[in-house]
């Protein structure tokens, strides 16, 4: 089980929860499970998200493996100049 | 259709003739009729200096000069700065001192710097900054540009 922390506008998609428990071994699995439990999350995924695993931010590499007990943060996707 | 005006002029030392409408700016003529796109349009209103050229040796914004005003006069553009295959020292110093990032302002700065050094071979930093105050650069913060001009002045004085 991973504790996935939500932030910003993502919380509202999980009924305001600051974190949710998900069992997943990769970012792809994590996102799939998340949408299964919280269908509202799909809109957020469409808007773009990034996943932080132990402090490293992954925007596109969904095959990234997530070690057991890792700190996982779901962040909205950002843009730069 | 409006008839154009035939203009005879010298551009970078070469006798040149072109036909243009009376309302056309020298910048438009250089860029669109003569293919000399080294002079840039950043504003078209005399505020950015990207279009700087010399007219009879005087620094002007070519976006504020009409094409027909070039009749019988000498125009100097960035394309005429180098002497054959040897660059003008300003050009080589701009490269050496990384005085350009995107480079869109560079032709204007080179022309304006040359106009400065032609009349003042030993400018202070302050004089350089005020002489170049009509040229906008958004990338560099001007630091390396001033250094490149200063280095060129020193180099030219040694010659």
């Amino acid at each position: 089980m991973l504790k996935v922390c939500l932030s910003g506008p993502l919380k509202s998609a999980a009924d305001g929860a600051a974190s949710v428990l998900i069992s997943a071994a990769t970012i792809r699995e994590l996102l799939r499970e998340l949408v299964k439990q919280y269908p509202q999350m799909q809109i957020q995924l469409d808007d773009g998200i990034a996943v932080s695993v132990n402090g490293d931010i992954f925007r596109d590499n969904w095959s990234q493996e997530i070690p057991e007990g890792a700190e996982v943060f779901l962040l909205p996707r950002i843009q730069g100049g | 259709m409006m008839a154009g005006t035939l203009v005879s002029t010298m551009i970078n030392g070469d006798a040149t003739e072109f036909v243009c409408q009376t309302g056309e700016t020298l910048l438009e003529v250089l860029r669109n009729r003569l293919g000399l796109t080294g002079s840039k349009e950043g504003c078209g209103t005399g505020d950015c200096g990207a279009c700087s050229v010399t007219l009879d040796g005087r620094l002007v914004c070519s976006c504020l000069v009409l094409g027909v005003e070039a009749q019988g006069r000498e125009v100097g553009t960035v394309e005429g700065l180098a002497d054959g295959d040897s660059l003008h020292p300003l050009q080589s110093n701009f490269i050496k001192h990384a005085a350009l990032q995107c480079g869109i302002c560079t032709p204007g700065f080179l022309i304006a710097s040359k106009a400065l050094l032609d009349r003042n071979s030993n400018p202070t930093d302050e004089e350089i900054r005020f002489a170049l105050a009509g040229n906008l650069c958004r990338c560099t913060g001007y630091d390396k540009i001033v250094r490149a001009v200063r280095a060129t002045a020193t180099e030219l004085r040694k010659k």
Binding site: N54, I78, G81 | K40, A82, H97, T106, R129, R138
Partner: protein, 753 residues
């Protein structure tokens, strides 16, 4: 192994040197081709008709007279760019922003366009287009737009990020909350609590090159676009989607770019040029005027921010919160959210909470501007930090050092930091001679910190070895300020050959896999990583070729400083084969030698900076002049230090302009009153001092060379550094940016009263 992104400490030969850039000569001779510098046979000139109203219903557009004018080849309205966005909200926003549909949403919003044989004809044609508007009430101020009863900018927008889902549309497009701990308890535990409110006005990236493109689309559905952009692959995908074209059939070539700073990450008028070309079946050139750039392309947000910080007498921050209201222009964005994420990123806080409100107003669609949204948040927070330090009698640098984030700190936006540079930049400030320099009469000193994320993304790179042993490096990220030099250095470093033997080209979209754009300080980070991998693939191939030549197993071959070497005693009679030797013999060892890399470059390290500023204020006029300025920033690893310094200096200069001068001024009619460089004054050469730089190198663990992005963070601290310097000399706290002479005077007068 070739694709291992982890940092390994090593000695560099090429990296870190300062050779001349490969595009330098073209740029000093006027040969370099920018967006407006190319021409096609039979090209038409396009012009765009724009709304003079801040908000209006478009009841009718009559183009018949314009169409009949001799020399006019195409006139388009939104009908010629039909909605094929298929429910994609962002794409529809882009479409509507390119060409207004039933309503004009801001002064400068495009409503129609013409293509004609020359500019004069096109101008006449524009005048012949009759648009019937019904003017609607408008709102341009961020706080006013949040008030009940404010005119609704986008009836299709319902606030996101709140539950339950709202039942009526709102100008608040998104609410974003970040933080951790219990701020209420934190404030209760504080000895001193400081609350302050701030406002910052809207600024523009102000790149000197206006948007320009040359579009050519045929009736066969094939097209080409030459354009000034920070991301031609992204432009291709967006334009193809908006025009209903096949991605592969639209070839986009990036011209040299005359500055972007985020403003050339979005399409603005390119789809119009393509649609005109498609209708006329002729190439179409479209250049914006400066007025159009200001009115119709994306500036950054104006903001209104409340900050609250609680602190113990010993200097420990017990809680910090902020409410950040950013306007997005007429289309939803993520700008307040970014402000809320970055506001407290420099600090190690037990209790922190930020809320961002993204607000719609009748102004142009906001786009990224260098570390987007971070400068305003940093202005509010870093100004308040100084106030707090003063209240408890602590030196502001020491106060920051005490509370600075470090490795292992839980960041205010969520994740835990790895190795970061805020502490080292502050330590460098303490030691810097600037801090001990004597201040002149009427001069004050201030400092401030800044943070930006940086990111990577999709990247594709080719590396081809020519028969003479020279190397062509082909990348897909646009070079905005010296990247070709840096990437050539990296290729030379990996291959062990001289810099002069590498030539770096930017590929068009037909020649390379997809690349994300040059934004988020990612150019050198991600194409650098991809170049390393492509070079390592080429080296694997080179070793194989050496093995083939020597007829020995490839495991016996190693690559060392540009040569293949046969390992071990048994091969000691074999002379090393250089890259040149192997290239010359390639025909008979397996054909062309190349390396390739296609990656998602993730793990871009966060970046921190601290700036020091001395400012002089005229006691009579309140005119200001920055007299000394120092930038200290972590670069991870500076590949070409000249261009790293250049990024630091350029960002600082933009921040100084923002702090002191630049602002969009809207009239009561909702129209922009200063769309030109005369009235929107960016810093000129005589306004600025030399800008000193100090590059720190705290390696990013997720890049083979330790590179971090360097392009953006330098614009974050100047607003607050200047505000703090002004407060040092005048004794007043400036809370409204730009801190122009009239505002400074007013603040001083109010204090005296």
């Amino acid at each position: 192994m070739a694709d291992d992104p982890k940092f390994k400490n090593r000695k560099f030969k090429a990296v870190g040197t300062r050779p001349p850039r490969p595009d330098g000569l073209d740029k000093v001779t006027g040969r370099a081709k920018y967006g407006a510098d190319t021409f096609a046979p039979g090209q038409l000139v396009a012009l765009v008709l724009r709304s003079p109203h801040a908000h209006a219903q478009i009841k009718r557009i009559d183009t018949s007279k314009a169409e009949k004018l001799k020399g006019v080849k195409a006139v388009i309205t939104s009908k010629d760019l039909p909605d094929v966005t298929n429910g994609d909200r962002d794409l529809y926003d882009t479409l509507e922003n390119c060409l207004a549909r039933d309503r004009a949403l801001y002064d400068g919003h495009a409503v129609a366009a013409v293509a004609a044989i020359d500019e004069l004809t096109a101008r006449k044609a524009l005048k012949l287009i009759r648009v019937t508007y019904k003017v609607l009430p408008h709102v341009t101020d961020v706080d006013a737009a949040m008030k009940p009863g404010a005119p609704i900018v986008q009836p299709r927008v319902y606030t996101r990020g709140v539950s339950p889902k709202p039942k009526s549309p709102s100008n608040v497009a998104k609410v974003s909350e970040f933080g951790h701990g219990d701020v209420e308890a934190g404030f209760k535990a504080a000895d001193v609590v400081v609350e302050k409110s701030y406002k910052t006005e809207q600024t523009h990236q102000g790149y000197i090159e206006p948007h320009a493109c040359l579009a050519s689309v045929g009736p066969d559905g094939h097209g080409e676009l030459w354009v000034t952009t920070q991301g031609h692959f992204v432009y291709r995908n967006t334009c193809a989607a908006l025009l209903g074209m096949d991605v592969a059939k639209l070839k986009v070539t990036a011209s040299e770019i005359g500055g972007g700073f985020g403003g050339k990450t979005h399409v603005w008028m390119e789809p119009i040029a393509l649609a005109l070309s498609r209708k006329a079946n002729r190439p179409v050139k479209l250049e914006m005027t400066r007025d159009e750039v200001f009115r119709s392309t994306g500036p950054t947000s104006s903001t209104s921010i409340d900050v609250k910080i609680g602190v113990k007498k010993n200097g420990t921050i017990t809680a910090a919160s902020a409410e950040l209201r950013y306007q997005d222009g007429a289309f939803p964005g993520i700008w307040a959210m970014l402000g809320a994420m970055t506001a407290y990123a420099c600090y190690d806080l037990k209790n922190v909470k930020t809320i961002g409100y993204d607000v719609l107003v009748n102004r142009p669609k906001v786009a990224a501007y260098r570390a987007p949204s971070a400068p305003m948040a940093a202005f509010a927070v870093e100004s308040t930090i100084n106030e707090v330090a003063a209240k408890i009698g602590m030196d502001p640098v020491d106060f920051r050092i005490k509370n600075a984030a470090k490795e292992g700190t839980k960041s205010s936006y969520g994740p835990t930091y790895g190795p970061i540079g805020i502490g080292p930049t502050l330590a460098a400030v303490k030691k810097h001679p600037h801090m001990r320099g004597k201040l002149g009469k009427n001069q004050g000193r201030g400092m401030a910190c800044g943070f930006w994320f940086n990111f990577g993304g999709e990247t594709c790179t080719d590396l081809n070895i020519g028969v003479d042993g020279t190397v062509t490096l082909t990348v897909g990220t646009v070079d905005v300020g010296g990247a070709r030099a840096s990437l050539s250095l990296i290729a030379a470093e990996e291959l062990g050959i001289p810099y002069e033997r590498v030539k770096c080209n930017i590929a068009d979209t037909g020649s390379l896999g997809h690349n994300h754009m040059t934004d988020g300080s990612r150019g050198t980070f991600s194409s650098g990583m991809s170049t390393i991998f492509a070079a390592r693939h080429a080296i694997e191939e080179l070793c194989q070729r050496a093995a083939n030549t020597w007829e020995i197993p490839v495991k016996d071959v190693v690559w060392h400083e540009g040569n293949a070497i046969a390992k071990g005693k048994k091969h000691k009679q074999l002379q090393p084969l250089s890259l040149g030797d192997l290239a010359a013999g390639s025909e008979n060892t397996g054909g062309p030698i190349a390396g390739h890399s296609q990656i998602v470059a993730d793990g871009a390290g966060v970046s921190f900076a601290s700036h020091i500023c001395d400012i002089e204020v005229d006691p009579e006029t309140s005119a200001t002049k920055v007299v000394r300025y120092t930038v200290i920033q972590d670069a991870g690893k500076a590949i070409h230090p000249d261009y790293v310094e250049g990024q630091f200096q350029g960002g600082a200069a933009q921040g100084i302009g923002w702090a002191l001068n630049e602002e969009y001024i809207y009239g009561d009619d909702g129209r922009l009153q200063n769309p030109g460089f005369l009235d929107y004054r960016i810093p000129v050469c005589s306004d600025l001092p030399f800008i000193d730089t100090q590059i720190l190198e705290i390696p990013n663990p997720n890049h083979p060379y330790g590179i971090r992005g360097v392009g953006e963070t330098s614009i974050v601290p100047p607003l607050a550094a200047i505000g703090n310097a002004l407060s040092d000399i005048t004794g007043v706290r400036m809370t409204h940016v730009p801190m122009s002479p009239p505002r400074i005077r007013k603040a001083i007068k109010e204090k005296q009263a």
